[in-house]
Symmetry: C2
């Protein structure tokens, strides 16, 4: 038995936040039914794509889901989709969408078909206006605080962090609502705006208070870790590492591994600082980086790594995606996080499970993304209890479609 | 009634992932008890700090929690902490830590006191070795793919995205385990490694398949959105905006708002491309940005915004943290996301609630972070049912402490 065995969630969504929420729940063993229009959703061809045009992005974000393909422009198709969303079952009746919750996706309309429906609606902004990760990120301060200290133009992130965080927040919200429904019998409409995810984090991490209480606007500090010590260094053989000393223990191990303790003591005396204090380490960051640079520059990666690891200092190696995949054992079948999975029409790739291990439940095997419409018939037969004749009629009328690569 | 009314979670954690997980659950109405050593945890003075040394970071990440302060070096203090973690109650017995799960934090030891304990242990790496957001991020490819296309040194992110995502993943995992316990009566040890969070996302978003199937290593594209069209532009009055056209609809509204449709048609003909296709928009990204640059450069922000909004194009303004706080109505008391909250010893600041709205539950008011030890006596009396004499004796022996600013 897996941790979420039995739970069923339906999805009408595209891009990252919604699909990532349900992908994460499918990876915990939930049954997830993704409903798409016959030609595929807005994200069906999203890059990166294979030479034959199959989206690696779509395959990744829909792993372990059932795909149902319906003509959502037709009234009959919409009725069918509503029927799947609101199908009976104590563990069913959960729905997520990032489309406007109007028309056939209106919560009240759906609620008339199932009174205790739990529906999560992901919005751009709280007022319903559009926003994407990119147009939220620019507004919340990070791009202007990222990159070299002497730069002035913004640096966008490549990781769609707000989308991902929004997805996991939605997953948490759905499970919280399911707990509430189980106890009190009532469903729920959840609204989650992508921009609110970012705004809340800006508050949670102290950036708002930094402006309001301290009157500070966080400056660019390049690759320095704010308020502690951490920086990147180049080794003799041209590799680059990040070292971090956030706690006093990490600072001591770093000093010991690199033998800079005496030089640090001299620096402390000269500058009137105490490097046991994180703020003083940050104040002296350039001088400290200056002490460490020659140590790394005169050692190969292997030599530096051996010393750092011997003292259990905290460090990491900069790798491209390709280096990560080819060289890092954490990103290989040697880790139980991954399995080799054949994705139909794409090929076999290293595919992650959920990053959560549950000691007392069965693990969910790493799964492929579905082919568009792969589970249309299965869902119509099993969830809606249609007869095979009814399913055939829907096909004949072009209301539904099955898998085709 | 709030969505998580009744649930109780104990925390022995520091920095971001663990505290953010429980902060997020406290913001949904759960009772969260954070146990710290008498002098405060490793993150008690983490920057940013006020002039008087109070951590804005700590206050933000511990909002809405109860703080209990115990001498964890003493056997009696550890016994007390174990008693709180394993206290009875159908909705209690949930615990999160990012410390090594050994000694008094060993799962088996805790399980002997409460057989159905749910415990989430956040690790650096799966093998138990140390890793921080910074030392994970460098290894998983993003810093070398971030920043100007002609750059070669890595650009670290400022947002601790992996920590935050790890925290929300832990929150989801805890609720999944609680659902399972309610149904089957069994507790659970959850293990979640920070590096696995990042590795799984690299797989989920298609980066691993891009290497393995396509043989590509994602290049740096500066502020261009990969596989679609999106870039930043400077306005006549020196402001900077990000525009994004991920879907065909967004592309059409952008063309209409900026009047570039004819020029785009000419470009399509000359280059043999079809901008209705996202991949072609990406291939022509520099030419398209070249078409749009003069449009923005010849308009003030207000003029550009009026045109973009009239067509509902998707765009955002680059803002510093200070501009966000001072100028953006989404980041103000005008939004129900925020309230003005007095944080003891710090002052009044704009403070976020949970970004999830639950239509059929009471909202949880935005909360302050506790003072260290503020709830020690309350928890000893209410959760452990000690007598006031027993609590006084623990104070006399220096085993526990109450709030002191």
């Amino acid at each position: 038995m897996t941790i979420l065995s039995g739970l069923r969630i339906t999805e009408c969504a595209a891009f990252i936040a919604g699909p990532f929420a349900t992908m994460s729940l499918a990876a915990l063993g939930a049954e997830v039914i993704r409903i798409d229009p016959l030609e595929g959703g807005l994200d069906y061809c999203r890059w990166p794509v294979t030479a034959s045009g199959r989206s690696l992005y779509w395959a990744g974000l829909n792993k372990g889901k059932k795909s149902v393909s319906i003509d959502l422009r037709s009234a009959e198709g919409r009725d069918l989709a509503q029927a799947i969303i609101t199908a009976p079952g104590e563990d069913a009746g959960m729905f997520i969408t990032n489309f406007p919750a109007t028309g056939w996706l209106d919560y009240e309309a759906l609620k008339r078909r199932r009174g205790d429906l739990i529906m999560a609606n992901i919005l751009g902004n709280r007022d319903g206006s559009t926003a994407l990760d990119y147009t939220v990120n620019c507004a919340v301060g990070f791009p202007l605080a990222t990159g070299a200290p002497d730069g002035s133009t913004p640096t966008n992130h490549v990781l769609p962090a707000w989308d991902l965080l929004c997805g996991m927040t939605a997953a948490t919200g759905l499970l919280a609502a399911e707990r509430h429904r189980r106890r009190h019998g009532v469903g729920q409409l959840l609204k989650i705006a992508l921009s609110d995810i970012a705004l809340a984090v800006v508050g949670d991490l102290g950036f708002i208070a930094e402006v309001q209480i301290n009157g500070d606007d966080r400056a660019r500090h390049g690759n320095h870790i704010f308020g502690a010590f951490g920086h990147d260094f180049e080794t003799l053989d041209g590799r680059r590492v990040m070292v971090a000393a956030v706690s006093l223990g990490q600072w001591k191990t770093l000093c010991k591994a690199t033998g800079i303790a005496e030089a640090v003591a001299a620096l402390e005396q000269a500058a009137g600082l105490d490097m046991a204090r994180e703020g003083d380490r940050f104040a002296a960051r350039d001088a400290l980086a200056g002490l460490l640079s020659p140590w790394f520059a005169s050692r190969t990666l292997a030599e530096a790594a051996a010393r750092l690891d011997a003292e259990r200092a905290c460090w990491g190696l900069y790798q491209t995606f390709s280096e990560l995949v080819h060289d890092d054992p954490r990103c290989s079948s040697a880790s139980t996080l991954f399995g080799q999975v054949d994705h139909p029409g794409i090929g076999t790739t290293l595919t992650p499970r959920t990053p959560i291990d549950f000691a007392a439940c069965d693990p969910v095997p790493p799964a492929a993304g579905p082919i568009l419409g792969q589970h249309t018939d299965e869902v119509l037969l099993d969830v809606l209890k249609l007869s095979s004749g009814q399913v055939a009629a829907l096909h004949d009328k072009g209301i539904v479609a099955s898998a085709g690569l």
